[in-house]
């Protein structure tokens, strides 16, 4: 039976279920199939902090959203066109995000009286007409999967667990996805248990065939490949890209990379990833605490490695004293903060941008550091290289401000040519630098960068002592001299200001905008999508996005001065806005949300429309 095929330009699908239902894996596989087809993609997982919350409850719902299109897209999508709900909790938790007319595929086997009661449904929403505004597809996913696997040599539990593959098969059919990579994936994943390869493959095919045969799904969809730059792509999450960026920084600098880390959500995946790359000379140490993690990284930097520590906000708070030490020692150090919602433990699996103040100012004394923020998952690779470049060239701690949204989101990444990556080689000091030709002055500076020599232990003739006590200019000896301290404090500030960072670019296609939207970090996607939406409706708006928060780009003041109004959307209560107002005396308008979720393009577009119309 051949079915009608309808062309779409973009689709947003959300897979939602219990945290044990395998929704992250299902979304991941669907994404991979979609990437193979050549659509542009953006994804966003959303999972509970609990590893296994009680089954069937609202706190236990885990979801994965994938947005794919035949053109380049910037966000995982505001509202799903399709919701796959594996149980009543998944339906209840996600329904509010669905526009009327969206498709809902539910696993009817889980809509039992008991499961309905767990989430407060008196009557099944499948029966009471409350879903009339949607296109409901009731499918007995579990029982059909178990039925399809009747002849297979697997337990009932394993058969039931394969229901996510049935769902994936059905969705893959609906959207005409190529499934070879999923079959290969199953073969790899269950290599040790061939019976599970067979069962999961059969479940996937049963789902596919169900779509093809059932009357319920009358239409099949196609989304044509997007026009993307030629080259080889892979789909990548921010945490994976950041890890690879650090490996690349090691290769391009010729230095061993030393990661000191303590497990913390949502940064642990970087530790996991880097622990696999020992052949590149990457050492990973799971330290006893956050302080030891940065201490070990700083010790490694002192010894001539690229020292890195990865954490989230609570960890940065603990590392503050050691960051200050690194400021005083003037050694390279990369501190990765994958931000999450705070304060305190906050919402560990939810996103926020509220650590900017801490990155810029969160230390005792005048302790300036460089701060860099990636704008998208794949940009984490380049941001990591940039953080390493600044740290190595300028012998300074650099804070890399990622966040949960870019860290766990994914998008296609055009693989760079390794030779095109920046050359990060550094020269260690090898000979005395004093005028007498014998003395070594550890705080004698390079006039261009104001960086001091990096003289690592093992270098004969350069034995010297450094420490957290204030140091005399040039000699590095302990000094309590008032004028010297004033000079050193100003020099440390000047060192950061001396870092050369690229000018901020402004996207203003028709050069007629009177409103500038300024952002930083992970808000790039939703801000960009909102600006596009406005321009398509003939409302001019300019977008500028900061990668460097310290030092700020040299042209920023001039850019801000060009526009009548400057709007700064942030997932905090106005931290960048405060900096901009203080530094440039610009009456910036903040737009602030701290819901633990990224901005939607729609809300930004609505907000900006008001500003643009009144400008």
């Amino acid at each position: 039976m051949s079915k009608q095929v309808q062309q779409l330009d973009r689709v947003v699908i959300r897979f939602a279920g219990d945290s044990g239902d395998g929704m992250q894996l299902t979304g991941d596989r669907f994404t991979s199939e979609t990437a193979q087809l050549g659509n542009d993609i953006s994804t966003l997982p959303n999972f509970p902090a609990e590893i296994r919350a009680p089954a069937g409850t609202l706190p236990g719902v885990s979801s994965f959203q994938v947005h794919f299109a035949d053109y380049d897209i910037l966000t995982p999508g505001d509202a799903p066109n399709v919701l796959v709900a594996m149980n009543p909790a998944a339906l209840k938790a996600n329904l509010a995000d669905l526009p009327r007319g969206a498709d809902i595929i539910v696993n009817t086997d889980e809509f039992t009286r008991r499961n309905l009661a767990k989430v407060g449904y008196q009557v099944s929403p499948l029966d009471d007409g409350s879903l009339d505004g949607y296109v409901l597809h009731p499918v007995a996913l579990t029982s059909m999967t178990v039925g399809a696997l009747a002849e297979h040599d697997v337990s009932k539990k394993d058969a039931e667990r394969a229901k996510n593959m049935f769902a994936l098969g059905l969705l893959s059919w609906m959207y005409s996805r190529p499934y070879e990579s999923t079959i290969r994936f199953l073969e790899r994943k269950f290599a040790a248990r061939p019976e599970l390869v067979a069962a999961n493959t059969a479940a996937f095919k049963a789902g596919w065939n169900f779509g093809e045969t059932t009357e319920d799904f009358g239409v099949r969809y196609e989304v044509k490949p997007a026009k993307m730059d030629p080259g080889t792509y892979r789909n990548i999450t921010g945490n994976a890209a950041l890890s690879l960026g650090l490996v690349a920084a090691g290769v391009r600098s010729g230095l061993p990379v030393f990661l000191g880390a303590y497990p913390i959500t949502p940064a642990s995946d970087i530790l996991h990833e880097l622990s696999k790359h020992k052949r590149f000379g990457v050492t990973t140490m799971q330290a006893e605490d956050e302080i030891a993690a940065i201490g070990a990284a700083l010790g490694a930097s002192y010894g001539g490695a690229l020292g890195v520590t990865t954490t989230s906000g609570p960890g940065v708070a603990l590392k503050g004293e050691t960051i200050s030490l690194a400021v005083a020692l003037e050694l390279p150090l990369v501190i990765v903060d994958v931000q999450r919602a705070g304060p305190s433990t906050g919402m560990p699996t939810k996103t926020e941008q509220a650590d900017l103040n801490m990155a810029l100012f969160g230390r005792h004394g005048e302790a300036p550091v460089a701060v860099v923020a990636p704008r998208s998952p794949s940009d984490c690779f380049f941001a990591a290289l940039e953080a390493a470049r600044i740290a190595l060239t300028h012998r300074t701690p650099v804070i890399l401000l990622s966040d949960n949204y870019v860290a766990n989101g994914s998008e296609p990444w055009l693989l760079p040519d390794v030779d095109s990556l920046p050359d990060l080689r550094v020269e260690f000091a090898t000979a005395p630098n004093g005028e007498d030709g014998k003395t070594f002055l550890p705080y004698l500076r390079d006039p261009a960068t104001l960086a001091r020599p990096w003289a690592i232990p093992g270098t004969p003739g350069l034995e010297h002592r450094i420490g957290g006590l204030e140091k005399a200019d040039k000699t590095g000896d302990i000094s309590y001299d008032p004028a010297n301290h004033d000079f050193m404090v100003r020099t440390r500030a000047a060192r950061i200001e001396a870092i050369k960072v690229p000018d901020v670019e402004v996207e203003d296609p028709d050069s007629d905008a009177r409103v500038l939207v300024l952002g930083w970090g992970s808000t790039y996607g939703p801000i960009g999508a909102a600006c596009r939406g406005l321009r398509q409706r003939g409302l001019p708006v300019a977008q500028a996005h900061l990668r460097h928060l310290s030092p700020l780009p040299a042209n920023l003041g001039e850019v801000l001065g060009r526009y009548e109004k400057v709007v700064i959307p942030e997932m905090n209560l106005g931290q960048l806005a405060q900096v901009i107002r203080a530094r440039y005396l610009v009456d910036a308008i903040g737009y602030n949300q701290v819901r633990g979720l990224p901005f939607t393009a729609t809300e930004l577009e609505t907000m900006l429309e008001e500003v643009v119309k009144n400008a």
Binding site: T232, R234, R279, E288, A292, G295, G299, L325
Partner: protein, 344 residues
């Protein structure tokens, strides 16, 4: 740890140009002099030696050594030294710390360095007081200690640093005294030879805030009756006349001191620092309680266990041995691993 080479270094080579600024009469001077005059024995070039310290009087130590050195922050020296040692196996890394630095604010780093068996030589100067902050009680001060912060006496029980180190799986544990240079250097010698963490507690006199804390162990009139000098392979007897000895009473968990005349010669414990079971060294560490009577000095424990540094380097070497191509080629391969697709 670097291999020794024939070098003509002297004590003077290890003195830096910095003026030593401890209080006159401080026990730290004696320790500094002992370490500086011991260093040439190591036959390790100065540039391969690093002293890392935390905060406190003792932590000024690196400034006075003409080696590489870092005066870091309070309590964190073991962590910083761990990163250095693991990434630079060619260095000889020494940690200088005090009772407040190592056992209070930095307690966590100390125990984890010891359990990992990082290749660090940790010298803990124990004066049972906070000196740099001018006289508060420390985690090794006796209960009831009257200080500026405890005017009616401290309420908390102290740590026994050696018991703590042994509980943290330390492979080398020793104690010595600031004023006994010969003994101090013999302990440093053994510590330097040890592969893995070597933990050395040095009783050190703070003549300003806790003067005389260890006098009974130093005064000729009392020291022989107070000190138990541990020597590997020798029966443990002490006292001016050898009148005391250490026995392991049947049915008991620990060791006890007896009059030598009252026990048979074969009941006297023969010291063996290589006993795998830490309970023996632990029992030795408990002999004095907090009071100074029956204080063993010397090497309590010296056993072999793979060092963290060695295991980590082994993993790196094994991974490198399996890989081929230039780093750039390997990186290109890594970037394009997993599911990729090509757009023409």
């Amino acid at each position: 740890m670097p291999e020794p080479v024939a070098l003509k270094l002297t004590t003077k080579d290890f003195k830096s140009d910095q003026e030593v600024r401890w209080c006159p009469g401080c026990g730290d001077y004696a320790i500094l002099a002992a370490v500086q005059s011991f260093m040439p024995e190591l036959q390790i070039p100065r540039e391969r030696i690093v002293f890392v310290s935390g905060i406190g009087c003792s932590s000024r130590f690196p400034y006075y050594m003409n080696t590489y050195g870092m005066h870091s922050i309070h309590g964190r020296a073991p962590a910083i030294a761990t990163g250095l040692s693991v990434s630079r196996p060619d260095l000889s890394v020494w940690v200088v710390t005090g009772d407040g630095d190592a056992l209070s604010i930095g307690g966590n780093h100390l125990i984890h360095a010891l359990r990992r068996n990082v290749n660090l030589k940790i010298l803990l100067f124990n004066n049972r007081i906070y000196g740099l902050t001018k006289g508060q009680y420390s985690p090794t001060s006796e209960v009831g200690k009257i200080t500026k912060s405890t005017p009616v006496g401290s309420a908390d029980a102290p740590f026994n640093p050696l018991s703590l180190a042994l509980g943290a799986e330390a492979t080398f544990v020793a104690r010595t005294i600031d004023s006994d240079r010969k003994h101090l250097q013999s302990v440093l010698r053994a510590a330097a030879e040890h592969q893995g963490s070597a933990f050395v507690e040095i009783y050190q006199n703070c003549n300003i805030f806790n003067d005389g804390a260890f006098d009974e162990l130093k005064e000729p009139a009392t020291r022989d009756d107070y000190l138990i000098r541990l020597e590997h392979g020798q029966p443990i007897t002490f006292g001016s006349e050898g009148q005391f000895c250490v026995v392991h009473p049947p049915g008991g968990f620990g060791l006890e001191v007896r009059e030598t005349a009252s026990v048979a010669a074969d009941e006297i414990v023969v010291h063996d620092a290589t006993v795998t079971e830490p309970a023996y060294a632990f029992a030795l560490s408990r002999l004095p309680g907090f009071a100074l009577r029956n204080t063993p000095i010397g090497i309590f424990r010296n056993v072999d266990r793979p060092s963290y540094d060695g295991v980590v380097q082994g993993q790196l070497d094994a991974a490198r041995a399996k890989s081929t191509g230039t780093p750039e080629e390997q990186l290109a391969g890594l970037l394009s691993s997993g599911d990729t697709w090509t757009i023409l």
